[in-house]
Symmetry: C2
Subunit: 89 residues, 2 copies
């Protein structure tokens, strides 16, 4: 089963790439852009979807400074989040 | 409007991070994993969604070696996240 893991810097953790993009866009003529965050995207085929959370904790993300969410585009139209989810910001 | 840009190495372009993850997972005891690809995730608030493609071409992605796709979690009943933002923990 195809799965997608989205990894983002945790709230409050410095996101220098996001800052760089947010500053660069106006310089390129794009306006009205805010709250830019840059993270990682991991897409993979897994046989056992229940292993995904452990994979994130152990390898894909750094749980100290990153949040992750797991989505299965094939499955139901709702992302499965690893863990209790809280709205950001 | 919140938007999400997913950037992946183009088909056939070397994806060393994906290879590294695919090799590391079995070593950590995870089996049944294949076709791992690692890309970037950019989440941002934009006023004019029609600018997004140009932003990707000019800054966010490298169109020579990367593909990108634009998603709007608020819009279609696609992956629905917690509020106007992507879910976080």
């Amino acid at each position: 089963m195809r799965a997608r893991v989205l990894i983002r810097p945790k709230e409050g953790i410095l996101d220098p790439q996001g800052v760089a993009v947010e500053r660069a866009l106006p310089a390129l003529g794009f306006s009205g852009v805010a709250n830019v965050h840059v993270g990682r995207l991991v897409e993979l085929d897994v046989e056992d979807v229940s292993q995904l959370e452990a994979m994130c904790e152990k390898l894909l993300a750094n749980p100290l400074i990153e949040d992750y969410s797991i989505e299965r585009p094939d499955a139901a139209p709702q992302p499965q989040d690893a863990g209790p989810e809280a709205p950001r910001r």
